[in-house]
Amino acid sequence: MTEFMVDAKNIAKQYGNIEVLKGVNLQVKRGEVTCLIGPSGSGKSTLLRCINHLEKHDAGELFVDGELVGYQLKDNKLYERKSNEICQSRSEIGMVFQRFNLFAHLTVLDNITIGMVKVRGIAAEVAAERARELLRRVGLENKEKNYPSQLSGGQQQRVAIARALAMEPKLMLFDEPTSALDPELVGEVLDVMKDLANSGMTMIVVTHEMGFAREVADTVYFLDQGVIEESGDPQQVLTSPRSERLKGFLSKVL
């Protein structure tokens, strides 16, 4: 078993002629929280989506839990993985989106159980019990029968976190989980995330919440125009940035 949950070496990705990622290196140790910051359009979402193989990277090596993402190395050749294998690996990585993306036609409880039942094949009653436990954990035990449209943004995002946790992921990816929330609702989501971090979950969090990064992150990466400009200890990166770009970025978000 390697030391790293995520090990990205020289990842490149382009859409048409636009180079979105230009050789990104990123390493996430097991049990650590990594915050990814950077201006809009710098490629943060693209990087997260590559880790989950929602996008294919064009070049570089990407390992999750010691295994190549999307490919298998055999006899010095890279074999593309079959789609059911890719689904299997995705199901072991939780993902939380900026716009929640809860299934609008399902109740809160069904949102959480659907992955367990349909992807993992867990019995419905067992799944429901586990879902209730998760709802308690995110402080929404009395909302199981509601539909997402009946919840506030903060509540929806907490359900989305519970939905991802239901799959018992080894890694959680958060893509700006609080950016679509009213300011007074940000705290309740960050609290759940802090809890999760304290429980030892490996997390990569794209965020503009510098307070959260400083308090919770073990490492901060600053991504700008498809390259990692700066990375390291949050205190050092956020309080005494070396590059002009990071200085400029921080002066805008703080």
């Binding site: 789609s83 299997q88 993306n101 299934f103 036609h105 349909k118 992807v119 449209s149 009946q150």
Partner: protein, 332 residues
């Protein structure tokens, strides 16, 4: 209404005189139409009788609409058989239409051109030709292809052969109506599928669902909300379009009416008789449509609207409540 917190004023609602006049005109016109429907007209014959040596004559009257004939045939076995055939034809054609239509829509949206182009051609062709012509085409299919066989492509070995002379009028009608419907349903289904937010697919994929699972468990149920209302219209429309099958000899409702009036010449009465059945069935379908749409609308609105029955109950309760605490029209 309070203006300074102490004085209360009576609120006088706006009077809509124009609306009252319009309502009165419509009510009179409606009464006249109803009167003509349920009135008698002279037949042109005169009936005479002699009582106590006095001969009296009067014109013989009859109902303008032959209601007696209508109800005499309304539940006759031929009409009822026709009714069953109409329902069967509607169900089979809609089944073919919906299943094939959703399939064509999914193909249309596929990134694979080998799937999307044939799907486009299908819709183009079947929407471009009249359904009546299509029915005649399927009915006379044997003239083009005498046998349909399953075997080695371009080879001579066959595992299964179908004699196309076995295509009855009913089968031709069911296939024709169903294939034509699929073209329209595919457009309806496509609109529904693309109405579902991309984030839903992303979330399902991130959970590890396969493409098929995502489609079945996440996209289709949500697309239903958009697909169902026009599909309900299609069912209602299909129920009536099946009457075209009479032209190739299927004895459905209209065909049955035609068969009966061919021998007794009561054309209008039997057409009314058939129409009554159509109206009854479309009414039932409309009610069913309302509740099915409600079911698939779950989660789309914060609060489910009340059903008409629930609304009626609430209104009655409201009236009963008002009678207990009746107060003048003063709002505080």
């Amino acid at each position: 209404m309070t203006t300074d917190g102490d004085t209360t004023y009576r609120v006088v609602p706006v009077r809509h005189y124009g609306r009252w006049v319009a309502a009165a005109v419509i009510a009179v016109l409606a009464a006249m139409v109803v009167h003509t429907i349920f009135s008698k007209i002279p037949t042109g014959q005169v009936a005479c009788s002699t009582t106590n040596g006095v001969r009296a004559c009067h014109a013989v009257m009859e109902w303008r609409f032959g209601w007696d004939v209508v109800f005499q045939y309304f539940t006759s076995s031929l009409m009822l058989k026709g009714l069953v055939t109409t329902i069967e034809l509607t169900l089979i054609a809609m089944f073919i239409g919906i299943v094939l239509g959703v399939l064509v829509a999914i193909m249309r949206l596929s990134p694979n051109r080998l799937l999307s182009i044939p799907a486009w051609i299908y819709t183009w062709f079947f929407r471009g030709t009249p359904v009546y012509v299509q029915l005649l085409f399927w009915f006379n299919f044997a003239a083009l292809y005498r046998y349909i066989a399953v075997g080695v492509p371009f080879g001579s070995a066959h595992f299964f052969t179908f004699d196309t002379l076995n295509i009855t009028a009913f089968i031709a009608a069911a296939i024709g109506l169903g294939l034509n419907e699929a073209a329209y349903m595919s457009e309806i289904a496509r609109a529904g599928l693309i109405s579902v937010d991309e984030g839903q697919v992303e979330a399902a994929t991130a959970l590890g669902m396969t493409r098929a699972q995502t489609l079945r468990l996440v996209i289709l149920p949500q697309a239903m909300r958009v697909i169902l209302p026009p599909t309900g219209n299609e069912v209602i429309s299909m129920l009536k379009t099946t009457s075209l099958a009479a032209s190739i000899g299927v004895i459905e409702l209209t065909g049955a009416a035609q068969n009966i009036y061919a021998s007794n010449y009561k054309i209008m009465d039997l057409l009314i008789c058939a129409s009554l059945w159509y109206v009854i069935m479309t009414t039932i379908l409309s009610i069913g449509q309302y509740y099915i749409e409600r079911h698939f609308g779950r989660g789309a609105l914060r609060n489910q609207p009340l059903t008409p029955i629930e609304r009626l109950r609430r209104d009655l309760k409201g009236i009963a409540g008002k009678m207990h605490t009746s107060r003048p029209g003063v709002v505080r």
